[in-house]
Symmetry: D3
Subunit: 311 residues, 6 copies
Amino acid sequence: MTVAPEDRAALLVEALPYIRQFQDAVVIVKYGGNALAGTGVSGAEGVGGAGEPAAAGGMDGPGAERAALASFAQDVVLLGSVGLRPVVVHGGGPQIGDLLGRLGMETEFRNGQRVTDAATLDVVRMVLVGKVNRDIVSAVNVHGPLAVGLSGEDANLITATAHTADLGYVGTVAHVDATIVERLLSERLIPVLATIGADAAGQAYNINADTVAGAVAEALGAEKLIFLTDVQGLRADPADETSLMHRVSAVELEGMVASGAAAGGMVPKAEACIRAVRNGVHRAHILDGRVPHALLLELFTDAGVGTMVLP
Amino acid sequence: MTVAPEDRAALLVEALPYIRQFQDAVVIVKYGGNALAGTGVSGAEGVGGAGEPAAAGGMDGPGAERAALASFAQDVVLLGSVGLRPVVVHGGGPQIGDLLGRLGMETEFRNGQRVTDAATLDVVRMVLVGKVNRDIVSAVNVHGPLAVGLSGEDANLITATAHTADLGYVGTVAHVDATIVERLLSERLIPVLATIGADAAGQAYNINADTVAGAVAEALGAEKLIFLTDVQGLRADPADETSLMHRVSAVELEGMVASGAAAGGMVPKAEACIRAVRNGVHRAHILDGRVPHALLLELFTDAGVGTMVLP
Amino acid sequence: MTVAPEDRAALLVEALPYIRQFQDAVVIVKYGGNALAGTGVSGAEGVGGAGEPAAAGGMDGPGAERAALASFAQDVVLLGSVGLRPVVVHGGGPQIGDLLGRLGMETEFRNGQRVTDAATLDVVRMVLVGKVNRDIVSAVNVHGPLAVGLSGEDANLITATAHTADLGYVGTVAHVDATIVERLLSERLIPVLATIGADAAGQAYNINADTVAGAVAEALGAEKLIFLTDVQGLRADPADETSLMHRVSAVELEGMVASGAAAGGMVPKAEACIRAVRNGVHRAHILDGRVPHALLLELFTDAGVGTMVLP
Amino acid sequence: MTVAPEDRAALLVEALPYIRQFQDAVVIVKYGGNALAGTGVSGAEGVGGAGEPAAAGGMDGPGAERAALASFAQDVVLLGSVGLRPVVVHGGGPQIGDLLGRLGMETEFRNGQRVTDAATLDVVRMVLVGKVNRDIVSAVNVHGPLAVGLSGEDANLITATAHTADLGYVGTVAHVDATIVERLLSERLIPVLATIGADAAGQAYNINADTVAGAVAEALGAEKLIFLTDVQGLRADPADETSLMHRVSAVELEGMVASGAAAGGMVPKAEACIRAVRNGVHRAHILDGRVPHALLLELFTDAGVGTMVLP
Amino acid sequence: MTVAPEDRAALLVEALPYIRQFQDAVVIVKYGGNALAGTGVSGAEGVGGAGEPAAAGGMDGPGAERAALASFAQDVVLLGSVGLRPVVVHGGGPQIGDLLGRLGMETEFRNGQRVTDAATLDVVRMVLVGKVNRDIVSAVNVHGPLAVGLSGEDANLITATAHTADLGYVGTVAHVDATIVERLLSERLIPVLATIGADAAGQAYNINADTVAGAVAEALGAEKLIFLTDVQGLRADPADETSLMHRVSAVELEGMVASGAAAGGMVPKAEACIRAVRNGVHRAHILDGRVPHALLLELFTDAGVGTMVLP
Amino acid sequence: MTVAPEDRAALLVEALPYIRQFQDAVVIVKYGGNALAGTGVSGAEGVGGAGEPAAAGGMDGPGAERAALASFAQDVVLLGSVGLRPVVVHGGGPQIGDLLGRLGMETEFRNGQRVTDAATLDVVRMVLVGKVNRDIVSAVNVHGPLAVGLSGEDANLITATAHTADLGYVGTVAHVDATIVERLLSERLIPVLATIGADAAGQAYNINADTVAGAVAEALGAEKLIFLTDVQGLRADPADETSLMHRVSAVELEGMVASGAAAGGMVPKAEACIRAVRNGVHRAHILDGRVPHALLLELFTDAGVGTMVLP
């Protein structure tokens, strides 16, 4: 890197006010199972175990995966170290599909949702809480005693109800009690949240991670809700690489969902963004998680990467 | 129940001073995987996934299992509600063996420890953190937003090192940083701890749950370390039901381990008790978890159930 | 006592939730001069020095008296030790009559109230503050540095006005400033209150202890107002031992006072109960103080002793 | 009063630095039973009920008594209002003798101490706690909700033991736990202390008020210990009015007690002064309580009234 | 001084309640440049550098000046030491005129205001902040580390705007943010304020010190606003020494300004008093600063010195 | 600026850990009078009014001066906004010389120190406190209510003694009481300190600003002491531009002063650096204040600008 001193100075003068502006700001970062896998079919990861079948091919192998996770963890730690309050929410669709496959358990999909019986739920929960969550916590904690893994069941963080009767233990968010998250944030710890919820009787449910990220952002009155995806962002024309939209209003985005311009795995993200910015979250972002340090560039430079959603 | 008013009054007069005495006292309760299963071979559960093969038979079935867990959860909640600070530490040997079996993964045992490669560790972690831990958290949270599941990886709670080179990712406790536990306790939450640790590089290890319970008790300066087992307690003669020892000193217990009077799964419990009472824990107890409400009877009545270990 | 372990466990499971429920709850206990004396004419003690002539006979002697006081003191200390906040309010009719007699001072009664001139008031105050109050404080403090004696004159706790012009220094409660009581409670001390009040000019008055207990309960927003009497409780038919009413509403109790079903010394208690439950006190109780540990049994078991008054 | 503005200004410039200097200073004021009576035999009042017989004659009548008490109360309130922390300790010898006389109870004196059986103690306690203490509290509280009456039995403030076997319930100070006094002071309340103590079994004792004042001053690390007497102060020659000593060291005072120059009721005062200034109390004072506002003049002007004792 | 003890006592009894009453009270004291100089033309000093030409003659010389300042500083320190919270606001007209003269800078006056260009402002600011303010701070700090000099530019304390276009950098108060003053007061420090303000662009302005004193008093919700002048107070007839008005209402004072009975330098003082007492300041005072310890006499004795303005 | 995203990301990854590392770090920045003037003779500015005559020529004019000050103020504000705690210490040699000249006051120099009589001191103080300090405060406060001007006289911050008898009111630092600075820092305010001190009698002294900066850094236990100069830094060979030393130890620097390699105005800076790093200040820096944003580049990038002094 051969950046001239005056350019370095200019970049610092550009970045420092953002650091000041976002001091103590809560930032919810949705990190998808596909992002964890380093790749995947566009928009597919958000629906997690409760959504579409996991993409089978195109893995870059465990090395690339680990490097991407390490880079993401470094960004999250850096955000925390300069005074922001990041919260990581994650899914784990591909990993769930993988273990179900190894156990020879077949599952049915209805409307893109995996029908989840008790045995399937056990597998989902083991993967999300016992595997994916742990991998993220470990990657963060290489930098210090910072991350604490949570499930929505902890301290009744996420109260769930059944999504529809025929999908079994696929749930929706009925209530978020973010007290435990706030306590951890006030201790400058980094909560990492697996998107399992429970009802009053203690029955667990699997919930779409994009939806949970939005609900938690609302409950915390977050400054930002950020989706790290494996696509470029939102395109005016999904097929046209040059049509990336840098800013979009909630109303426009609503139109794109209605018209089908935003489709597939982008729908729950879009809906979470719309709802969040209408309920007190300042800005929502759909970023290209494949760009190294996308979080830093979006937060601390004038030019962002991806699409920003405004109220 | 037809207890006369004067007996009721006498019992209250007996119990209330204990409640006063144990106000704010930290009590570590080791709850074994076999206790969860409602049965099991004597002393086998403590070694968890890192120890002996799980007992195959003698299950009372999922209904009895669930009732036992619910009763245990009620006791823990009651302890917390009257001012004590319980911490639950658990293993999960039978459940680990079960999933390994379903996945067709064979594991080798050396000196009673399961050789644990990366794939096995993934399974161990998924079961402990994603299954057993979750089941306990859910059972407690039926009573209120109280339990928070933890793994030793969270906020670097348990730093681990490899036990011996040939056992793979079987670890020992190198350091306990109980800060996160203390924070949760100060919020009157109930930590439920899965006994996975991590080294500085983020590599996870499976650790014997009895050892972890003792190390956490020490780190917290706990009032009590309680092992809920599926045996009667410590017997002078293991084969003689009438030889239950109500009190034993650390020195005597050391002798029993040396002489083989305490053997099998009782050894790590005995060693954890000895070390704990010599490092600031006031009393250690080995209780019969099959007695309903054993925790309440031990803590709040003059007559205990099981064996108390003194410095 | 030979209570089976399962019955002991059941009693603990019954009692602990009450302890949790009443955590930090303020409980006003009116302890009458007759209760101190271990016996007396039904309902007579509550009116204290300002009320009916003291009962002359039926004493069990100083030994029984002392034992009853010690048992009462133990209960109050136990309540405090498990997190409740007891406040003791007491009268002292028999003891006042006794000293007046020894001093050869004759007093007149009008409508059941003792006409109180300055000399009489001096005697009343010496007995209540310097004798009865001290005896209760001493009995409590055998268990630790807990009780602090108060008179309504301290820190202007009770502002009084003359009851009626012809009764002299018999007063009624004009205002309660419970600040000093709250401060002592916040230090986990046990206030013991003699029912003398003072007006703005510093003139002392003797006030009915039942009325003071109710007024203090209101001012503190107490959870419970408990009258420890030497009768069984409230009876539907005063002459019928089997007609004890376990629960009664404020409206019903009002009717009983109007109809004369509640009479004599029961009237100020009934009126204090009615007013208290209508002004924020959760429950009022009229208990049989002769039952050992009546307080514990009423507060911590499902079956109470005596009559509970509801709003 | 026709004081010139420049003299007024000079007096303020003189007084204000004392107010600053004594900010938050704890000042123990011993107020004797004779002072309450407005007169009395020199030095006799300090020994209280445990000492010499009460002076019979020379009363100025209740009006003068009340005025003197009101003036004293005003001074104490003024001290508190400008930031000092006064504590009043009082005896009550004349008043005790009076009630014993009215009750026809004869008591014997040995070495100037009243032999105190249980019945006598009851009278002593009633007078000190129920009469004298109350009168002082009332007089102070005319100015606001400030005074709180205490007995040494409250919150185990004064632990007593028997003085000598043959004096009955005449006690000496075994231990002072001034916590309750400190709590009241920290709330800017004015503790008024009757000098009854209790042993561990709850048995009450009557203790010399001068001794208690000294012990409390020590326990609180008081700035000043002040005896308000009905004499001019300490005289080099007791018979010579012009021999008032303005300052005396502990060593000199010790010599005066040994030589008999300080005698009678002055002895316990002198001993309390000596002990106090040797145990951390900064200054002790023996003042002429008959001078109006003696407390203010001693504390806030360069010229004092009476004798100051230095270490 | 030969004041009798009873007069001393009476004075203390008179003064102490004022000390209590003014505990923690914020008192703004305007100290004029002429007061600093020990003399000057009546009412001329208040308009500071922004007002009339400085009086040239009549100085008593530096010795008298220094003594007057030392006496004033002592009073301010004494106020602070007994619990009040004094804030000193000062002008510096004579001193500004002096330096301008030495630098040979001529300035024009319009309507009694000095036309202030950038060079003049530099001189004004140097004198007020670097000379007069420093002299007062030094005089106070002889008594301890108490005074902290402030300019209205510090922490945006005083936001100013131009008074009128033709006067240059003569400003008026647009906004007072008294946070920094409150912080210093809460640390028991004594703020000494030079009356320079700044606009949002950092441009400094010179502001009339009387006006600033009033605005700061309002912003702090001060108990008192006191002008120390070199006149006797407000006279009904300016020419008649015996016509001093001890009390005047805001309405009456308004009438006097309108009628010209209050004129010259008295006008901004009168207007500041009127506005202050109508905006929450309890009392405003115009005192004769030439009377030694005028502040103490006004605040702590029944008879004041000068004129008190009531709402 | 056309810096590639990956370079921007790399710069952020480089800068953020420094921001974390310096969180809450106290940084003393010495800003010289010459730096204010935008230029000047090498090393001359540090000696301030107490040192060498001011450089007369080479000014870039007021526009450049103002821009340099604005850029410096922006840097200081940015440091504060991302969590550091900057303290500005300044001299004012050229400005003092200027005003002395305008007033026609001639001053003598002995050993490079200006002989300072009372009249000269008044001018020095007016310039430092009333002019230079104000200019810096104003420049900072354009960004928000942040800066508070201080003189060493405020709250007895700097106690001074005469340097040598023949230099008049040229002082040295006898004691630093940094309490007021710590209070302002804890409120996230930016103290700007003029280097006037005072002795116990309130007499002011002018002190070399480099020395004051070092003494304040020590007293605060600062992380860094930074001299912003108008030279490149410390050169091994003062005449060789390419001989800039990036790091130097205290011992080496001591040698350079002894050998004359560091001379002139560099000497007090070097001595302040040496003493500071030996008394708890972590690092001292001599930077080229002419490089725009030198503070940011030194603190937040791997490559610094100027010379770092290590213990």
